[in-house]
């Protein structure tokens, strides 16, 4: 079913080729990610969006090297790191989790957390490590005095900054951020989004941003991959995904997002039902039972992720060439 993987280009920092992840469950085998492919360049932010169970977090864990895929390849600067990562390769990709309350060790001060990392990776010791700690605090917008604090002394937004500082400590080239603002208050989310924006522009990091918040994704990401039940169903530039969405699921996600400038009761397209369990995926195009555009062939034939006409976006829909207005 899968698309031809994009050819590996010299400029690609991270290449994900045909990644498939299977889990054994009571209900039988569950395919969490089915042949996902994309690439990421320096200074680029890629958004992964989709609803719970779509495989976006599983894919993030594969990229970060926390979960080996069952098939497919992950390349960093063109070299294969799918099976084993040297310590230097592990440093290159760092992950920031949703919940800064549970991802930091409560018994370690911020300084100890950072210094331990610097020592383990042989990056800095003694006075150099202290200098680096202060530099990291400045990078994430915290005062140097924060180094003496323990995680419980900080607010959610500050903790997320500490989690980012920890990720940056080992000088990564790719940051994978799994719902980094979801656990934060509305007025704080903006500061964390701005932090990621500055990391991309100041340090030229490649960022993979996972979120269910389409507004945040639109604000931050150059390219967006929309996932449904383990498959990437649409992959394109921001302008394509938001301005000329082609997959009916992308359209439905956009229609379902509540809008601050739109009153209730407008004519909205609603999807019926809910995403089925990944253990019981529908045949053919997994989206067909909920799809307003579905025809008979959709339940039989899996659409390829292929370029749509008049667009650069890759769309996994038999009707990818149909344009939707509004």
């Amino acid at each position: 079913m899968s698309a031809a993987p994009e050819p590996v280009q010299a400029a690609d920092l991270l290449t994900v080729e045909e990644i498939t992840v299977r889990f054994a469950s009571k209900a039988g085998e569950l395919v969490a990610v089915e042949g996902a492919s994309f690439s990421l360049r320096h200074g680029e932010t890629l958004g992964l969006v989709g609803e719970s169970g779509c495989g976006k977090s599983t894919l993030a864990r594969c990229i970060a090297g926390l979960l080996p895929p069952d098939s497919g390849r992950i390349l960093l600067h063109g070299s294969d790191v799918t099976r084993a990562r040297a310590r230097s390769d592990r440093r290159m990709v760092q992950i920031v989790f949703q919940d800064p309350y549970s991802s930091l060790n409560p018994r370690l001060s911020v300084r100890s957390t950072l210094k331990e990392l610097l020592a383990v990776h042989g990056l800095a010791r003694g006075a150099a490590a202290e200098r680096r700690c202060r530099e990291l605090m400045a990078l994430v917008g915290l005062p140097a005095g924060a180094l003496d604090g323990y995680p419980n002394a900080f607010s959610g937004g500050q903790r997320q900054r500490i989690a980012v500082a920890r990720a940056l400590a080992v000088e990564p080239e790719v940051i994978v951020a799994d719902e980094p603002t979801s656990a934060l208050d509305v007025s704080v989310q903006a500061t964390i989004l701005a932090l990621f924006e500055s990391l991309r522009s100041q340090l030229g990091l490649g960022i993979v941003m996972i979120s269910h918040n389409l507004a945040a994704i639109r604000h931050l990401c150059d390219r967006i991959a929309v996932m449904y039940l383990g498959r990437i169903v649409e992959l394109g530039d921001r302008s394509e995904i938001f301005g000329d969405p082609r997959h009916p699921y992308t359209l439905a996600l956009l229609a379902a997002s509540p809008r601050i400038r739109q009153a209730a009761g407008g004519a909205r397209v609603r999807l019926s039902g809910e995403p089925p369990s990944p253990a019981r995926k529908p045949s053919g195009c997994h989206f067909h039972p909920r799809c307003p555009r579905a025809e008979d062939r959709c339940s039989i034939e899996s659409p390829l992720l292929a370029v749509a006409s008049d667009s650069h976006a890759l769309v996994a829909c038999h009707f990818r060439d149909e344009r939707h207005t509004g």
Partner: protein, 353 residues
């Protein structure tokens, strides 16, 4: 659904003159809250967490209460339904249901609300009994409170499941909570809440844990139900866009005080309180990808150390010396909707600004 008149006993207490508000609540006013004040016990004493909150909700309409965590919005809801957790206590104020003043706390208070007010929560899984079939859970209250027979209560459960959009209600009634999806569980929680035909439905972030396409369905369902059943909905959320979608009126809460109230279209489009303005500027707007969000400087103060005067003044771009001296009252401003009020002494400077 069973008509409201068909209920036993309790309905008649509504017209008892000694319990009726002197102000003469207008017809259709399902819920009126006057000066509700809640305190919370901390190590060094009691602190006010909900401060003199007043609002009214007409049957068939939805009232949105928006604020950040710690603003007191959930405590307000729990005080309304008399389910405050132990360190919190109602200090003053009145709650009127169809013009009838409700006892503030204790067993009497809960009895007075039973069947009349219902609440749904963010986490529907923990709101349901995992070892009882969902039909039985819905039938329980009609059996106990409305005096329906087992048979009729079961029929009513199935009817309610149909009302909240559960496919194949007769067989789903036999399912257990873990066998149905998150969105379906929230529908079941709504069915339980509606099982005694309440006139007021309190919603505490009921869609926050749901996926966006399912959230849209639940919001549509609540919107439909309030019209069909003449329900007064109080909807608490941190999400301004969700509030905008469902609620006719919006109140913005900060450190336990209502700082801005009025029609949602007016409050969320032309806010006249700097905090509301700050909240709107801090969120990313799906329809405005270019505009960069601006965070509000500083952070929400703890109720143990509230700033004097307007509690927002240390974070406010408009603050003057006077702001630290006086607590501003909710008041209207010229040039915006008549019932659009702001608790800011500089409100007039924000009109059309």
């Amino acid at each position: 659904m069973i008509p409201r008149e068909g209920r036993s006993g309790r309905g008649s207490t509504r017209s008892r003159p000694d319990e009726t508000t002197g102000a003469g609540a207008p017809a259709g006013l399902a819920l009126a809250v006057e000066g509700l004040t809640v305190s919370v016990q901390r190590q060094d004493g009691r602190h006010v967490a909900v401060d003199d909150v007043s609002f009214e909700v007409v049957g068939g309409s939805a009232f949105g209460l928006v604020g950040e965590s710690g603003s007191g919005k959930s405590l307000t809801l729990r005080a309304l339904i008399s389910l405050l957790p132990p360190p919190a206590r109602v200090e003053g104020g009145s709650v009127f249901l169809h013009g009838r003043r409700l006892p503030p706390a204790g067993r009497q208070a809960r009895r007075a609300r039973r069947g009349e007010m219902a609440m749904i929560f963010q986490d529907s899984l923990s709101a349901l009994n995992p070892v009882q079939g969902i039909g039985g859970q819905i039938a329980e209250a009609p059996q106990r409170l409305l005096g329906l027979s087992r048979r009729r209560a079961w029929d009513r459960a199935i009817e309610l499941l149909r009302l909240v959009g559960i496919p194949d209600p007769a067989s789903t009634a036999h399912a257990y909570p873990h066998q149905i999806s998150g969105g379906m569980r929230q529908r079941v929680a709504i069915a339980i809440a509606l099982s005694t035909e309440p006139s007021v439905l309190l919603c505490d972030e009921p869609t926050t844990a749901l996926d966006v396409t399912v959230q849209a369905q639940i919001l549509d369902l609540l919107d439909d139900l309030r019209r069909r059943l003449d329900l007064a909905i109080v909807f608490v959320s941190h999400d301004l866009a969700v509030i905008r979608q469902l609620c006719d009126e919006t109140a913005v809460m900060y450190t336990g005080r209502l700082v801005e109230t009025g029609p949602s279209a007016s409050v969320l489009a032309e806010p006249i309180h700097p905090y509301t303005r700050g909240l709107l500027a801090a969120i990313v707007d799906l329809d405005d990808p270019v505009g960069a969000p601006t965070p509000i400087p500083g952070s929400l103060p703890d109720i143990e150390r509230l700033p004097p005067g307007c509690t927002f003044h240390p974070r406010c771009f408009l603050a003057t010396a006077e702001c630290a001296a006086t607590v501003p009252e909710l008041a209207p401003a010229a040039g915006v909707a008549e019932n659009h009020r702001s608790a800011c002494i500089h409100r007039d400077r924000l009109v059309h600004a």
